[in-house]
């Protein structure tokens, strides 16, 4: 990996923030994701006084908007790079910076920064908005003790969700750079993210478990705060799987763009 070129990072950041649509998209995605989390928390119901009702994970419940947020992040990342390739701006970029790896690194850094920051805001807001809603829906002590944002497991879930979204942004960037067009990349990644969830209930465990364990969605395990012996993968291992996907795709993308005529 060549070093980070701060001039190139600055240029890529200027590119990212000079498109007003991007700021609108970020605000919209944050609002939509928090909104979805809040909705799911508000409509859920439990009667915690009955036996056997204490095994929901209230932190996972309050971060469910990520199912929408992850698709939006992928679409945004793919769209950013595909727009540059299809408009031909990439020629100006590579004329200004012939070191294509430095461009790829700068793009990953700027996009990751933006997604990490907005992902953190989304998770924190989702958690804070959802706790009173869950409480009102019956998720109350003693079955569901009050959880605070500062508890280690909650901190892990909230920051981990942001890191999960960041990995997906990097994965989207790489997929867009390899495929060059937005539609096939977004379709493929959305399928990859949704298939394990959609198929999970139909497949026997022998098939469903590996899907949960080895596809990018494994990273959602980071949201778990309650020990679950039957979980297909642990929190950090799951997040690691998502990042392995992101970094492997990035390596392929860099290999391709360093060799491709533009």
């Amino acid at each position: 990996m060549s070093g980070v070129d701060t001039a190139v990072v600055r240029a890529e950041w200027t590119k990212l923030r000079s498109l007003p649509g991007n700021a609108v998209a970020v605000v919209a995605v944050v609002a939509l994701t928090v909104g979805l989390s809040a909705f799911m928390c508000a409509v859920g119901h439990t009667d915690a006084t009955r036996p056997g009702q204490g095994d929901d994970d209230v932190v996972v419940n309050s971060l469910r908007g990520v199912y929408i947020g992850q698709i939006a992040v992928v679409a945004f990342a793919v769209g950013t790079v595909a727009a540059e390739l299809t408009t031909g701006v990439i020629r100006t970029t590579f004329t200004a910076v012939p070191g294509r790896r430095a461009v790829a690194v700068a793009k990953a850094i700027t996009l990751s920064g933006a997604v990490l920051a907005s992902g953190l805001a989304t998770s924190v807001l989702s958690f804070l908005v959802c706790q009173p809603l869950l409480h009102a829906s019956g998720f109350r002590p003693p079955a569901y003790p009050i959880v605070a944002l500062t508890e280690p497991a909650v901190v892990r879930a909230v920051t981990g969700t942001a890191l999960y979204l960041t990995a997906l942004a990097v994965l989207g960037l790489a997929a867009g750079a390899i495929a060059r067009h937005a539609a096939p990349s977004i379709t493929a990644l959305a399928g990859l993210l949704l298939a394990p969830v959609a198929l999970g209930s139909f497949l026997p465990n022998a098939l469903a478990d590996p899907l949960q364990r080895y596809t990018p969605i494994a990273g959602l395990a980071i949201q778990r705060t309650v020990h679950d012996a039957s979980a297909p993968i642990g929190p950090w291992s799951g997040l690691g799987v998502t990042w392995v996907w992101a970094l492997a795709a990035s390596a392929v993308a860099v290999w391709v763009i360093e060799r491709r005529d533009v």
């Binding site: 001039a7 408009t87 701006v89 100006t92 004329t95 910076v97 012939p98 005529d261």
Partner: protein
């Protein structure tokens, strides 16, 4: 720097198509060099190879003696205008230049300077999606000038300019060359370069057809002669033929004469008391010279249309 750009036996294939075939030429500083050829001749491919955007299958291209990819802050060495419409439509003109400036550590102040240079100051805050092709070309030129480079590569910069814009560009390019910069301007229309270029690189089907100064190219084309109109057609034909000229009669009272200079023709005709209505000397046009060079090198030749009768 004696040579600003060297293209050394560059070959490029796209599948079965040979886009560039051992193409070689050099571009010198202080001149506007026209880079001409029919559509599909390989002009844009050549420029993309010089800029390191496409890799040659064989040969190499150097800028100031170095491969483009090895230049530090390349925009301070080479300014390039490729496809002028290749901007993100949602980005403001100034921001398009700001990110380019940032990438090469060029001061923000320079953005305002180049916008003024190309006359786009008033639309600096407008999004490029609303730009006409002419405005896009000016923005592309502004981007090329950001690093104040000694070498400029401009691919079809005349496209989309209105007559005022074309005149402005001509003066702009002449001024850049007068400052000692090397300016390579591609065009598929020779007439666009007639009053701009000092030197010409002519290519067809990826091969070099001519590397010549403008003046030498014009001299290389055979003179097309002198046409004259006279009521005493038969007598004048006889007279000039006897004086050693080749005379052909075209329609009506017109004659086309080669082999005698106009002054001598006038002297002979007048000296024998014949009347002369018109005497026109045909200077070979650059377009003629170009067509002659590229006649066998167009990808999609049009069939000659014969006038009936």
């Amino acid at each position: 720097m004696d040579v600003a750009i060297e293209v050394e036996r560059v070959t490029k294939r796209y599948g079965a198509t040979l886009a560039l075939d051992a193409l070689y030429f050099a571009v010198r500083p202080g001149l506007v060099t026209g880079f001409v050829g029919p559509n599909g001749a390989g002009k844009s491919t050549t420029i993309r190879i010089i800029l390191g955007l496409a890799a040659p299958d064989d040969g190499r291209a150097l800028v100031g003696g170095r491969a483009y990819a090895t230049l530090d802050s390349p925009l301070r060495h080479v300014g390039a205008l490729l496809d002028a419409t290749a901007t993100h439509p949602g980005r403001r003109a100034a921001d398009h230049l700001v990110w380019i400036a940032h990438s090469n550590g060029i001061a923000r102040r320079r953005v305002d300077d180049v916008l003024e240079l190309v006359g786009l100051t008033s639309v600096a805050r407008k999004r490029t999606g609303g730009f006409s092709l002419g405005m896009a070309q000016r923005l592309g030129l502004a981007a090329a000038m950001l690093g104040d480079p000694p070498v400029l590569l401009l691919d079809e910069p005349v496209n989309g300019l209105d007559p005022d814009g074309i005149r402005w560009l001509r003066g702009f390019l002449r001024a850049l060359a007068a400052e000692g910069r090397a300016v390579l301007v591609s065009s598929h229309l020779m007439s666009e370069l007639e009053d701009t270029a000092d030197h010409l690189i002519v290519i067809g089907r990826g091969r070099l057809l001519a590397d010549t100064s403008m003046r030498d190219l014009l001299m290389a084309v055979p003179a097309t002669g002198v046409s004259l109109r006279t009521p005493d057609r038969a007598a004048v034909m006889h007279l000039l033929a006897n004086a050693g000229a080749t005379v052909t009669s075209s329609r009506g009272d017109q004659l086309v004469v080669t082999g005698l200079v106009p002054g001598r023709i006038a002297e002979l005709v007048a000296g024998h008391g014949y009347h002369l209505d018109e005497l026109v000397s045909h200077r070979p046009s650059l377009e003629d010279a170009y067509l002659q060079l590229t006649r066998h090198a167009v990808d999609y030749p049009t069939s000659r249309i014969e006038a009936p009768g």
